[in-house]
Amino acid sequence: MANKVHVETTLNGEAVEFLCEPRQSLLEVLRDVLGFTGTKEGCLTGDCGACSVILDGRISCSCLVLGVEAQGKNIQTVEGLAQADKLHPLQQKFLEHAALQCGICTPGFLVAAKALLDRNPNPTEHEVRYGLAGNLCRCTGYDKIVRAVLDAAAVMQGR
């Protein structure tokens, strides 16, 4: 049995500690060690964005980050988007615009869109497409996803 490392981190605003093998990715730790299965696996090579998390404010593929690298970091996942009884405007707009079909890409898109809007609260259609180009969706053709993000941005800006 490989030696496990003790890691302290912040997950969706809560202090969390866990033990993990040095070879385990952050994605594996989130899903298999901590039980946060909202973050999805699509490729493990950084090419699909299904595993997107926000790491210290930056969008990251959690399949390309080691669990031990989470030490002292701030991680946001899809599970942290909604507030108690209220969906995040992005979640609400994804539902209203039917921006998901199978839904496997949805957590990654929501997290990537959140990171985009944190950085650029008023994106153009092209900026949304550019900001989400690291996420693959095979079901929707992206049309309704882009519309949902633009609409969520408008709502968050009070427009």
Binding site: G42, C43, L87, A98, I104, R138, C139, G141, Y142
Partner: protein, 760 residues
């Protein structure tokens, strides 16, 4: 059957889907999210060779690795006799199924499963598969469909004989089957033509590309019962296939369908489920298997590459006088390419007197192909729809007008013979003609930026098949709908909406549930664009059954005859003997005194399947220096019958267009000379991102299907058919070259442009 369109209150609205909150919060449980106490993790060892004999497998080092609990090889599978059994309406060959799950004496493609391991962690399982020693004797391989048809080609399955030949042959072959549709007088037809166009086409093997890799968790119990959790397009289909492959009773398996992260046809077959079952049986523990992306590309899906010859002629008036198509489709390592569907759909949008269509199903050393959205039809349409475009061009007729002249209508004989019922092909042509997109000025080429517009059409049969549904009335007067159809893209919502329509409830007041194989009657797979049609049909009937029971209960309370009770807008009333009425809510509370709970049930195998047609228009810009094609504008129109939830119908069309664009421009399986797949990852198997696409405009044409109580036709598949041909036709308008290969990738386009300017 009367379609009462104007009366709909719920059908045609856009409620929020019932499983939506689970899916935007990360709570929905997909197969990979299932975890059981004491669960082991498995990995599969796959062949690195395209064709080789397995001389020996030594698993001892793997078994000796601490943490490894079991190793599986083909020795653990029952040896099954050849032969075909009918599974639902799909023919299944259990021996080939088993040979694909785990290679027996030979590996037949790069990625073919050879062994599997279960260990206490996925990392240990991964180390263990590397310790399995397999001795191979390399055999010559064949991956090109025309080469595989030659007399001296390397043979994949020595026992295979061609079916469908006029005379029985006892020759070894890679041609699994052949078929022909013919009518009229081809020669006379071509003689009558003013213009004849003929081309040969090659299309590459492509993958469905669902984002969720295949997965399975199995728990075998000592009583012989197994539960399998898996992301599948059909829980019953998965169960039946497992039973066939392992030669055990279907009733010894319960399949619990997890949420499914895309399938497009690729998750109808099974790959991991029986392996997980056998590993669980060997270890006594639950076992979970998940494919890597490379495994998904190397060993699952894809759909056939193909070689297609098309020759068509038309007279001066623009009437097609003769059409001849010859197509050979890659089956992969085992029989079963969609060439039959290719033959039946290729020319179906047109009314033809003289035609001949030949199809060949050909084994090659590539993964066994699986269904992919209107399987077989997109390849064929790339050939026929670009030739149609050229005929129209040569005759100086607008391509939409050409379709109006030749288009199939109710009563037109399909290439395969049967006459079309009421269809909406010409309505889609008309809708494109009147669309803002087609009405807008042709895109203008600028310096170094060449632009063009193209159109193409497509046809898909859609499927019926078996479905069951239960509609339960809750004590508060709401309802639940239970079906066996896994929900890939919003069918929980459409089923709930159909029940709500019948019961006079709001969509939100009906809760849809997808049940496991022990909790609902048999239901065939989610595929063939059939769920809202066939399962929706069962839901409609089950809801009617519930209404009849509610009327009876009300009659009991009122001491009246059931015929005297009317059910309308969510309330019962009776007109005779005074005006009594009760809302469903009130009645639901009184059911214990009125004869008991109400559970409506129905099982169907509907025959009134409504064929689907689509017509698309696209504007492209070609950079002649790099060969890159950009999609500037795209409009898709389709006869959808009746759109139950229009947003999800549009979504099907938009998603299919995106897949079609990938198929047209980028996606292809790339094998090296050794027969190894060189692009088994999303970096090199390049699917469209949102930066590659514009918004995709949709126009829903509603020609109700007379074979369905709500007029529903399937919508999911047909929109993938037109894109490659429409884009090829647009590229022609932009740069003047007729592309005959898919994908029309930058190097191929550059080459074609260079050849054209060399000819000048």
């Amino acid at each position: 059957m009367e379609v009462q369109e104007h009366k709909f209150k719920v059908i045609g609205t856009r409620p929020i889907r019932h499983d939506g909150v689970d899916k935007v919060t990360g709570r929905a449980k997909y197969g990979a999210d299932i975890s059981l106490p004491g669960m082991l993790h498995g990995r599969v060892l796959r062949s690195p060779h395209a064709h080789a004999r397995i001389k020996s497998i030594d698993t001892s080092a793997a078994l000796a690795l601490p943490g490894v609990k079991a190793v599986l090889t083909s020795e653990d599978f029952p040896k099954l006799a050849a032969g075909v059994v009918a599974m639902g309406e799909l023919p299944m060959n259990p021996r080939y199924l088993s040979m694909n799950l785990m290679a027996q004496d030979k590996v037949l493609y790069d990625g073919h499963a050879v062994a599997a391991v279960a260990a206490t962690s996925s990392h240990i399982a991964e180390e263990a598969v590397k310790l399995i020693k397999v001795e191979y004797e390399l055999l010559p391989h064949v991956q090109n469909v025309l080469d595989a048809m030659k007399d001296n080609a390397p043979i994949l399955l020595p026992e295979l004989r061609t079916s469908g030949t006029p005379e029985k042959s006892d020759k070894e072959t890679n041609i699994a089957s052949q078929l022909r549709f013919a009518r009229g007088d081809l020669e006379a037809g071509f003689k009558a033509a003013a213009v004849v166009v003929e081309h040969e086409f090659d299309t590459a093997m492509v993958h469905q590309g669902y984002i969720e890799p295949h997965n399975a968790v199995a728990q075998y119990n000592t009583d012989g019962q197994t539960t399998i959790w898996t992301s599948t397009q059909g829980a019953f289909t998965a169960r039946d296939q497992c039973a066939l492959a392992l030669d055990i009773p279907a009733s010894s398996i319960k399949v619990v369908p997890a949420e499914i992260g895309g399938g497009f046809g690729g998750k109808i077959g099974i790959y991991l489920e029986p392996l997980a079952l056998l590993l669980s049986k060997k270890t006594g523990k639950p076992v979970k298997l998940i494919m890597s992306r490379a495994d998904v590309l190397r060993a699952t899906g894809p759909t056939s590459g193909s070689h297609i010859r098309v020759k068509m002629g038309a007279n001066k008036a623009g009437k097609i006088t003769a059409a001849q198509v010859w197509m050979a489709y890659e089956a992969g390592a085992f029989p079963g390419s969609p060439v039959g569907a290719g033959c039946m759909t290729a020319l179906a949008p047109y009314d033809l007197e003289n035609l001949q269509i030949d199809g060949f199903d050909v084994l090659v050393n590539k993964p066994k192909t699986a269904a992919y959205r209107a399987p077989g039809s997109t390849n064929a349409a790339m050939g026929t729809e670009t030739v149609v475009d050229e005929l129209a061009e040569k005759l100086g007729i607008d391509p939409l007008e050409f379709r109006r002249i030749n288009g199939a209508k109710e009563g037109t004989a399909q290439p395969a013979g049967p006459k079309f019922p009421r269809i909406g092909f010409l309505e889609t042509v008309e809708a494109i003609k009147n669309s803002p997109h087609y009405q807008s000025p042709q895109p203008k080429s600028g310096k170094g930026k060449l632009k063009g517009r193209g159109v193409a059409s497509g046809f898909w049969f859609n499927a019926g098949f078996q479905s069951s549904a239960t509609v339960n009335i809750n004590t508060d007067g709401t309802a639940s709908v239970v079906t066996g159809s896994t929900d890939i893209g919003g069918t929980r919502a459409s089923c709930a909406m159909i029940a709500a329509e019948v019961l006079g409830l709001k969509a939100e007041e009906v809760h849809p549930v997808v049940a496991d194989t022990e909790s609902i009657g048999h239901t065939d797979m989610t595929g063939g664009s059939r769920v809202t049609f066939a399962t929706g049909y069962a839901v409609y009937e089950a809801a009617q059954d519930a209404v009849n029971q509610l009327k009876q209960r009300a009659a009991t309370l009122w001491k009246a005859k059931p015929e005297e009770v009317v059910y309308q807008d969510g309330a019962v009333s009776r007109t005779t003997n005074g005006n009594e009425s009760m809302t469903l809510k009130e009645l639901a509370g009184k059911l214990p005194r009125a004869g008991g709970p109400v559970a409506g049930r129905a099982s169907v195998n509907p025959r009134g399947v409504g064929p689907a047609f689509a017509t698309h228009v696209v504007d492209v810009e070609v950079d002649p220096e790099t060969g890159k094609v950009e999609i500037l504008r795209y409009t898709a129109t389709q006869d959808v019958g009746k759109a139950v939830h229009p947003s999800y119908v549009e979504g099907q069309m938009q998603g299919a267009v995106a897949q079609g664009v990938g198929w047209a421009l980028n996606e292809e399986y790339f094998y090296d000379e050794k027969g190894t797949l060189r692009n088994a990852g999303f970096l090199d198997y390049r699917m469209p991102t949102c930066l590659d696409l514009p918004m995709i405009e949709t126009i829903l044409v509603e020609v109700p299907n007379p074979g369905h109580p709500i007029g529903v036709r399937g919508v999911g598949e047909v929109p993938i058919i037109p894109p490659p041909a429409a884009i090829a036709n647009a590229i022609y308008r932009a740069v003047g070259v007729r592309m005959t290969e898919l994908p029309m990738s930058p190097p191929r386009l550059c080459k074609a442009i260079a050849e054209k300017s060399a000819k000048k």
